[in-house]
Every structure is written in C-alpha cells, then in structure tokens.
C-alpha cells in the first residue's frame, strides 16, 4: 500500500480577502448544497474506488479553501464523516480543516471534531486590527483569540495558527506582538508568511497605483529573522520556509507535497499528482458539479512530468524543507547524482554558506533560506 494525501477544496467565502488569488466565490445557498452533494455523492466514491484499485492508503486529508467553515455546519460535518468512512484511510490519518475565526462558533467547532476533524488550522493572519483591516479580513484580533480558545476548549490537540507579516506601515514591534500572542496561546504549529500580493488581487491594483509600498528586502529580512529566532526560542522547530511546529507535530499533509508524495484533489480548482501526472480540476463550481453528475472527468489540465521536470521539482520543493533534499533518494528515484551534476554551482553556494551538505542531505542554511528562490534558480 502506497501512502497518498487527499485535498478537498471548498471554494466559498463570506468575503474575499484583498490579497487572495485562490479560487473562491461568494456563498450562494443552492450552489453550496449542489457542490457538497457532488463531493459527497460523486467525488468521494469515485476517489475511493480509484485509490483502492491503485492500492493507495490515505495518510492525510486536508479540507481547505476558500473558507470551509463558511458553509453551514451540516454540510461540512457530512463531508468529514463521508471522507473518513468512504476513503481507504490509515489508522492515524491526519485530518485538517481550515477555519476562519469570523465563521465558526463553539458548536461548529465541536461538530468538526466529532465528525473526524483532528487538526484545525486557524487563519488568524494577525493579532493587530489595523493589519487585519488592511488585509480585508472579516474578523478582529479578539475574535481570533476567542476562536483559538474555543478550538482548544473543544479538545483539539493539534492546532495551527496562520500569520502574515509585511503589511505596509507595520513595525517590527507590531509583528512581534502578533507572534508573541500566538506563542502565548501555545498552538502546536505556527505558519508565518511574508505578505505577497499576486496580480489580479484588489491589493495589487492599489500597489501598482502607488497607494502604498511594501517593506524593503532589508526590512523583510530583519522581520523574518526575528520571527524565526523568537519561535525557535519558544520551542518551535522551523521545518520549512514559512512553517514552524513543536517537535513531531509538523503538518504531514504539507510535508507530503514537499517530499513529492502523491495526492489527489477533490473539488473545483484542486490539483492532483498521481502516477507521475500533475493535473488540475476545472475552476467553475457549476462546471464541476455538472461534470461530476455526468460521470465525466473534471480535469482541465494535466501533464506528465519529464525526468528533467521531476528533478527540478525535487530541488524546488526539497530545498524549502529545512531537512533538505535526500541525495540518495534523488539518486534512487531519478538516477541523478546532484552533487556531481551541479558540482560548480553547489561548491559556490557552499563557499558562500548558502547551502550545506550533511549526512546525505543538501539543505539551505539560515542565510540560504532567505534567498531560496535564487538558490533554486541557480541549481535548476
């Protein structure tokens, strides 16, 4: 039995955040009902059949969005129950549900946990109200804290807090207030993302119009390093560029992406990687529902990776992990001896103390992580 992960996309939000370029739509009652129907009655059985026939065992399930908790709790509860019942899951399956602090109350939270949710990822983003307003979040800092406390009170033993730093005008003290607040709540996992403003978002338009500027690379670097050092001091281990966890409580679902494991995506706009093929489902809710109803394929793009592309991905994803790339595994999987194939580049990076090689692993140093994109480009 080969391990696999399952991602389920819930493309509904109460209001789209200003920095978000994920596929999401305002909640419309009929759409939501039809969509969950398609997931539960068609997508899950189809996936279960496929995975069983391919002898895959589900190690992690991740319900993300959008805002999964934006929909009435009955829908989400049924989806969770059906998932753990229908799919061939392993005994210690990790089941994560993303939660917006502005959506779920205590009973909603209890329902999620009762139906099989084991890990809750709370999109706090900041404990500063000014930053939350800038980002266009629907909640304030107090609600975020309450949400966390409710999840904990409901008995969840694996909680993540998502934070974003780098909003305009935010001082280092402001950021560290958020980080310190998160630490004081003692979640098992903290993700801290530098704000990025993708094209096509509301903030991108304002940025281009010069209404605000982002912090300079020097400022961003200082903030990043301060956050990293503070979280380390508080007992969190940085295991990826933006992810920190108490020992043994890393997000297994995400680790699987970075280690190039297989996954299937259910729902519109979800991606899959199975048998060496990456594919993506259609973006539209209506089209997804219709295709599912007709028993048709929901895939809109797919590509089989070449060996060169697989090696590129191995470097691109593996170097994001602080454990780095296992050179022996890359040799076994792809037949490439990276140290030889990229000798000059690696030597130069090592001399500049941007990478190191230890016990079979090529990994970025703390300095290397800060310029990971350049190092990856250099190595691929």
């Amino acid at each position: 039995m080969r391990p696999i992960s399952v991602y389920i996309h819930i493309p509904f939000c109460i209001k789209k955040c200003k920095y978000c370029d994920f596929v999401s739509f305002p909640i419309v009652k009929q759409d939501v009902a039809a969509y969950f129907d398609a997931l539960i009655k068609a997508a899950l059985p189809r996936a279960a059949k496929l995975l069983t026939s391919k002898h895959r065992i589900v190690e992690t399930i991740y319900i993300g969005g959008g805002t999964p908790t934006a929909v009435p709790q009955a829908h989400l509860a049924e989806l969770l129950t059906s998932s753990v019942n229908a799919l061939p899951i392993s005994r210690d399956v990790e089941v994560t549900v993303e939660m917006n602090p502005g959506t779920a109350d205590a009973s909603y939270i209890s329902k999620i946990l009762a139906c099989g949710g084991r890990r809750i990822s709370i999109g706090v983003q900041s404990f500063n109200d000014r930053s939350l307003r800038f980002l266009g979040r629907i909640h304030n800092a107090r609600q975020a804290r309450n949400c966390f406390e409710n999840v904990r009170a409901a008995g969840c033993r694996n909680i993540n807090i998502d934070l974003i730093y780098g909003t305009p005008g935010e001082s280092l003290d402001d950021v560290m207030h958020s980080v310190d607040t998160a630490i004081s709540l003692a979640p098992e996992h903290i993700s801290v993302y530098g704000l990025s403003i993708p094209e096509g978002t509301a903030l991108h338009k304002r940025l281009r119009a010069g209404e605000f500027t982002l912090p300079s690379p020097d400022q961003q670097r200082k903030v990043y390093e301060t956050i990293r050092d503070t979280l380390r001091a508080a007992g969190y281990i940085q295991y990826e560029v933006s992810n920190y966890a108490k020992p043994g409580l890393e997000c297994r679902h995400n680790l699987n992406y970075w280690r190039r494991g297989e996954y299937i995506g259910l729902g519109c706009a979800a991606s899959s990687y199975l048998d060496g093929v990456r594919s993506r489902n259609v973006n539209s809710v209506a089209e997804y529902v219709e295709r599912m109803a007709n028993g048709a394929s929901v895939v809109c793009q797919s590509e089989r990776l070449s060996k060169e592309e697989r090696v590129e991905e191995a470097v691109m994803l593996g170097l994001r992990l602080r454990e780095g790339i296992s050179l022996s595994q890359l040799r076994r999987d792809e037949g490439i001896r990276l140290l030889q194939a990229r000798r000059n580049q690696i030597q130069r990076l090592a001399t500049a103390k941007l990478v190191n090689i230890e016990n079979d692993f090529l990994r970025l140093t703390d300095d290397g992580v800060l310029v990971a994109d350049e190092v990856i480009a250099w190595l691929t």
Partner: protein, 603 residues
C-alpha cells in the same frame, strides 16, 4: 551630340563638391531635370541618394554617376558626366578617386552659411587632382543669402578667382543654365589618347543582384568594347566584358567606351573587392605599361567587435556581413571570440560614421540585434626587440613589459566656427589632447581652426560635443597624418577579479582614471543584485584604479508553495531559466542583455 556619336571635345567630366547641406543633391537634381534626362514626374526629390539610410542622414554613401546631354546656347550638343561623390569625412579616399575621374569640379557654397570646413577639405582634394574649380554660390533665393560676402570668402579663404563665381538657386533653378555654360567654357574637355592602350580608372563599384559587380569607370586612354578581355592592374585578374553603358540616369547600353567617357562595365565579376576603388582596368590583349596613379588599398582606421545579441544569430550575422560587403568592400571582418559575448566578428571601418552606417544597415536590412564593443583605433606597438606590430583590439596588445612604446594615429582637423563659440571649442580640443596649428579669421564672424589631435579622441562623443559647444554651427573635417609616440595604456575591467575581454579598452594615460571610474559606475548601475557579492574594478596592469560593489540579494523567497502551486512555480522557474539562458556572462556574473547593451553603449 547624339548618345552614340563620340566627340571628346564635347565631353565635360565634373563633380559637385560641397559642405554637407550646402545643396549638392538639390543641384544634381536640377541638372538632371534641366537637361531633360528624366521627365518631371519621375523626379523623386534628390534622385541621386538612393538608399533610405542616405536620405535620412542627408549624405550619399555610394557614388552614382549620370551622363546628361546638353545643348548649349550656341546650339552645340555636349555630354556632361556628373560624378557624384560621398559627402562625409570618413570617405576621403572615395571622394579623391571620384575627383580623379573628373576634369573639373563645382565647389558649392551656401550663400547664407559661407565657407565651411568641408568646403575647404573638398577644395584641397580637388586641387590635388588638378581640377578646374568653378565656385558656385548656392541658395541665393534665401532672404539671409549674402552673395557678396560669400564671394569675398571664396576669394580670401579659398584663394579662388571671384570672377568665376556663379550664383544659383538649386531650389528654383535660377542661374543653373548659366552654370551649364560656365562648365562648357571653363572645364576642359578630357585629354587622353584614343589610340593608346586602354586605361580606365575605377572610381565606384557596387554589387547588383542580377549582374554581379558594376564597375563605374572613367576611360583615360584608348577604348574598350563588349566581348574584350579586361585586366585589373593591381591584381592581374581578367574578365570578359559582358556589357558597357552609362546611367542617364537609367542604365543605357553601349558597344564601346572611349577615352574621356564615363560609364559602367559588367564583366561577371563576383566580388566587389576584385574591382577595387582606384584600380586601373586595361585590356588583357594590349595592356598599358603602367597603371594610373593614386591607387591605395583601402585602410580601415576604426575597429570594433560586432556580436549578435543572441548567440543563435551568429550565422545570420556572418551571412549578413558577406552580403553587405558585396556592396561595401571598405569594411573588413574576421571572426572573433569573446568569453563575454560569444562568437562574433572584429570589423574594421573607414571611420566612426562608416561604422555606424554598417551597424545600422546590419540591424535594419538584416533584422539583427547587435552588441558592439568600444571602437578602437589602430595602434602601433614598438616592442623591446625593435620590431613593431599593429594592434586594433585591446586584447591583442602585448604585455606591458614587452613594449618599448606605443604610437597612436593622429589627425589634422579643420574646424570653422562662429567666433562667439571659440572659447568652448578651444577647451574641447584641449581636453582632447589637441595642438593648435593655426587659427584665422575667415570673415562674417567665423574662425578657422586647424588642430592636430589623436584620432582616438574623436571616437567617443566628439561630434556631439562639437555640435553642442557651438549650438550646431561648427563644421568639421579631418585627415590622417600618421602615428606618433603616445602614453597609451590598456584598461581592464574585472568582475570579481576576472577580466572581461569585451570591456577592455585602450586610452591615453591621462584619461584612464576618468574613463575607468565612469565605466565601473555604469556597470554597477546595470548589474542586478545577485546571490553573491559582485566586485567591479578597473585596472591598469595589476594596479586597481576604480572599485565598486553590488551587495548580494537580501531576501527572495516565495512564502507559500503547496500542492496547487507546484506547477505554476515550476513554470516560473523554467521561465527564469530561459531568461538566464539569454543572459550575457559578465565574468562570473550573468546580467540581462539590455544591461549589457547599456554598458557597451558609446555616448
């Protein structure tokens, strides 16, 4: 005289020579029109300037010659061979060959501008060829025309007989018929022996797609006929004459060309270099005992590396250079390899304008994108052992310890400028290491300066500075006067300690520091931050004269990369890689092509 009849006494061979914009092309047009050679509707403005490029620059690159029939006031038929000449200082040799084909010249002076630098230079060239000069005062229709002052300058500055001056307006045609009569009266009929062995001077040759090389010649002695075998006296190569004729201005075929006539020769010649400017053609069966005087192989004086922006265009560039050199044998090229720019060509030109024209034609006519390295004059390195070598590229310069001294080429330049700007111009010439030879007042508030200065000093922004220092009024011409010992050093540009071949340059010691600092600063502005620190230095030998640094990147990392992002991120990475492939290697540092172009730009 009909087109076929031959009467040597009724032939007049002459050129129009003038400072740029004094109206040479307009006057040529008027000649063609007023002799009735072309119906008016076929007269595109300035018919003698054919190429677009020439029209834009207002100069004539390839000489074209027309044969015109004119009936004089006394009722006699005459043949006028109007020999067009290139109008720029870089083409002195071409001009001198065209003038050698003439018996007289019309020296055109703008009545509003007066005598200018090229007027003087062209006059000297004409006098060297013993030509009868008719001064022509042009643009008399302009309100600002001052015919009398111009006449005075022609007498005082040029030393010509003021009584010979013919005032005209090439634009309106006024006075042009009088000029025709003056030509008949003052320019002598061609000399030469019809019975002597055939000798013709090649004063223009160009490549024509269907016939190969078209040699334009002036027959000095004897005659040639279709079917005869001719021989080029500098090479001994022989060809059979396929066609003879002249341009009037359309090509008109003839069976023979005889002493005194001007026309074209087609003889299945494939290479323009086989029909060199200034060479003498004779008959293979009855060769002349000696060639006509004055033939000098063309000498390239400015060299520069030309490289395709994208390395895939190397072969396209090679083909383009081959094609272009069919038409312009005056530039030469040979393969050159640069670690920074890849494969390209080291090219030699007659001057900086010639260099610009060739580069522009390569880009425009062949769709190439080119990088060119800093232009270089030809130095002579005198080595310790007493031997000497010519060096046209900084990278060919022998190591300093082997060199006794270096000689650099000098020019003598003539500048005529309104006296209000004289201070600016003197400062510019002093900055450019010039030595004053003479300074004299030529009248109408103008001063003529004669300076000697290193040719190298005119390669970078000299014309622009000259123009801005005189609000555009200074006129300029120059001639080469040989090499002189000079303190020339080679400056290398080092990127992280590694010399970049394409950026080395030669300069006088006193300019090395300034130019080194400027170039290093310019590079620093163009090098994007990288993973690693970049140190840019300028050095003379092992001595560092300038240093700048580009600090390494501080932060560049994608915050999120999960299952749905992977494909997009990989595509981005591939795009980045594709961009990297197009980058140019500056030592150990890759920089975008545009940045490299900016660095190599010569202001």
């Amino acid at each position: 005289m009909s087109a076929a009849a031959y009467d040597r006494d009724r032939i007049r061979n002459f050129s129009i020579i003038a400072h740029i914009d004094h109206g040479k092309s307009t006057l040529s047009d008027r000649f063609i029109e007023l002799t009735g050679a072309l119906p008016e509707r076929e007269m595109a403005a300035q018919v003698l300037d054919t190429m677009d490029l020439e029209r834009e620059r207002g100069i004539t690159i390839k000489a074209q010659t027309v044969r015109l029939n004119y009936r004089s006031r006394s009722g006699q038929g005459y043949v006028f061979n109007l020999i067009d000449t290139p109008g720029h200082v870089d083409f002195t040799y071409e001009v001198s060959r065209s003038l050698a084909a003439c018996d007289g010249a019309l020296l055109v002076v703008d009545a509003a501008q007066g005598v200018e630098a090229q007027t003087v230079a062209n006059l000297y060239l004409a006098l060297e060829n013993d030509l009868q000069i008719i001064p022509v005062i042009n643009k008399i229709d302009l309100p600002s025309a001052d015919v009398e002052e111009t006449r005075r300058q022609i007498a005082d500055v040029l030393g010509l007989e003021p009584g010979l001056c013919v005032p005209v307006s090439a634009k309106t045609g006024e006075g042009v018929k009088a000029l025709f009569e003056a030509i008949i009266e003052h320019i002598p009929a061609p000399k030469g022996e019809i019975e002597a062995p055939f000798r013709a001077l090649v004063f223009d040759s160009f490549y024509e797609q269907y016939h190969g090389v078209v040699a334009v010649v002036r027959v000095m002695d004897g005659a040639v006929a279709v079917g005869q075998r001719i021989s080029f006296m500098s090479t001994g190569n022989t060809f059979e004459v396929q066609q003879l004729g002249w341009f009037s201005p359309k090509a008109t075929r003839a069976e023979t060309l005889r002493a005194g006539e001007v026309g074209f020769v087609l003889a299945n010649i494939k290479n323009v270099s086989d029909s060199a400017l200034g060479d003498t053609i004779t008959l293979a069966s009855r060769p002349a005992s000696k060639p006509l005087p004055g033939y000098v192989p063309v000498k390239q004086v400015v060299f520069s590396g030309l490289f395709p922006l994208s390395t895939q265009q190397f072969e396209d560039l090679q083909v383009a250079l081959e094609k272009l050199s069919l038409n312009d044998p005056a530039f030469i090229y040979e393969p050159e390899s640069s670690s920074a720019l890849g494969l390209g060509f080291r090219c030699g030109f007659l001057g900086t304008l010639h260099m610009e024209i060739v580069r522009e034609r390569l880009e425009r006519e062949f769709g190439l994108q080119l990088l060119s390295t800093a232009p270089n004059v030809v130095y002579e390195a005198i080595l310790m052992d007493g031997s000497s070598i010519l060096v046209d590229s900084p990278n060919d310069m022998p190591p300093t310890q082997k060199i006794d001294h270096i000689n650099e080429p000098f020019i003598r330049c003539t500048i005529i400028v309104p006296d209000e700007f004289i201070g600016n111009i003197l400062k510019l010439l002093t900055d450019r290491r010039g030595t004053q030879k003479s300074m004299e007042y030529v009248g109408a508030g103008k001063v003529m300066l004669v300076y000697e200065l290193p040719f190298n000093e005119t390669l970078f922004d000299f014309y622009d500075k000259l123009k801005s220092a005189s609000k555009g009024y200074a006129s300029y011409d120059y001639e080469h006067i040989g090499r002189r010992a000079s303190e020339i050093v080679k400056v290398d540009i080092l990127i992280n300690g590694q010399a970049v071949d394409a950026l080395s340059f030669m300069t006088h010691k006193q300019n090395a520091y300034r130019r080194g600092v400027e170039l290093v600063r310019r590079i620093r502005k163009q090098v994007p931050r990288q993973l690693f620190e970049v140190v840019i230095q300028a050095a003379i030998g092992s001595k560092i004269i300038s240093r700048e640094r580009v600090a390494p990147l501080r932060k560049n990392v994608t915050a999120k990369c999960y299952g749905g992002d992977i494909t997009r991120k990989r595509k981005l990475l591939e795009k980045q890689k594709e961009g990297k492939r197009k980058m140019k290697q500056l030592g150990s540092v890759a920089i975008p092509q545009e940045a490299f172009m900016e660095i190599l730009k010569v202001d």
